[in-house]
Symmetry: C2
Subunit: 210 residues, 2 copies
Amino acid sequence: MSSTGSPIRILVVDDHPLLREGLRAMIDGQTDMTLIAEAEDGEHALQAFREHRPDITLMDVRMPTMGGIDAITAIRAEFPAARIIVLTTYEGDAQALRAIKAGASGYLLKNMLRKELVETIRSVHAGRRRISADIASEMAEHMADDELTARERDVLSQVAAGNANKEVAARLGISEETVKTHMKNVLTKLGAKDRTHAVVVALKRGIIDI
Amino acid sequence: MSSTGSPIRILVVDDHPLLREGLRAMIDGQTDMTLIAEAEDGEHALQAFREHRPDITLMDVRMPTMGGIDAITAIRAEFPAARIIVLTTYEGDAQALRAIKAGASGYLLKNMLRKELVETIRSVHAGRRRISADIASEMAEHMADDELTARERDVLSQVAAGNANKEVAARLGISEETVKTHMKNVLTKLGAKDRTHAVVVALKRGIIDI
DNA sequence: TTCGGACTCCCCCAAAAGGGGGAGCGTAGA
DNA sequence: TCTACGCTCCCCCTTTTGGGGGAGTCCGAA
């Protein structure tokens, strides 16, 4: 865009070497951007951020050792002005919401076009926020819904692992009646027809992981 | 490797532009390989194969319009000697098994190193087969298990959608008793504790999709 | 042709899940 | 302070699930 001024200094964080290579090629093709560092997980991302202080960080969410959400939280705790764009495959609206709450300024899907990515980088660098249309509309769909509480997610995760209410109760150190109460709330909140459906919906929406 | 002889002609099929760019960069860096075409889904892959007759096809499995497995089947039906390497994120052992049954000569995960990819390309070009160690060991784990039958997968997919046995029976036009029989078999074959667990296991292993 | 396997249907019965209700308790905000 | 909310527990009752058994048909491979 502007051929004058210093380029946007970018840090790329992704555990896929091939994707990093693709991003490098794309960034190299822009006169107003430069790739200054790469990291392959959240821990290295934090180190790289401290060392290089990038203008923009492109971050995947699914990575070994330390995931993207934790990395965003850690970076923003230390550098509140950090501008981070999440770049991921589809992970559900809840995942995106977590990223944004953690301080991400953008959320893009990996199947987007180059054009959209470079525009988002410039946009976020200028202080704006950018969320992929697909994700934004799905997040909007669930705006009105109550989110699951921490305990409800605990219970649902246990259920996803194949535990009966009695077993979940034993594992969490609560009564079976309490587990049933939580599951009733989960079914209502997720609009699920039964516990199996609830698990599937929660997986789709990125509320729980397996 | 060999600086003499004609280069290995490669077709890349993936719906992620960034990943295609990364592959292009990697292939361009090898003296004995050349990227001759790209496609973004299964249908275009078949067209591109007809037109270019690549030595090696690198193919993702998850794509819009026509998935990778169908594309492999279609290409191998027309060109039985086609050498296809699947390149994907982790999708479970059942997915890998389907790809191999469809005629893939290799199965790699996207988080592998460049070195492994170029070695696999040369290896497959020389007529060998190569499966990622992680996938191979997981496939081995389930060698002894009976696979689910088509009908069992149908039933399980309906269950994953939140249908009770009675509803599944109505949808598939069979009796509830038959659905229960299928579910009993599914639980046994997958080693699942209940239907919810069965759905989770099947999703993890790539036996059903959501 | 015979055999195996997929698919279908049936019985019985115990256990689990789900839907309705109510209620106490602690803590963090308004 | 009072209120809202998350977490906990309890009751009652119906429906669904799961585990055990058996058995018929049909199709394709040996």
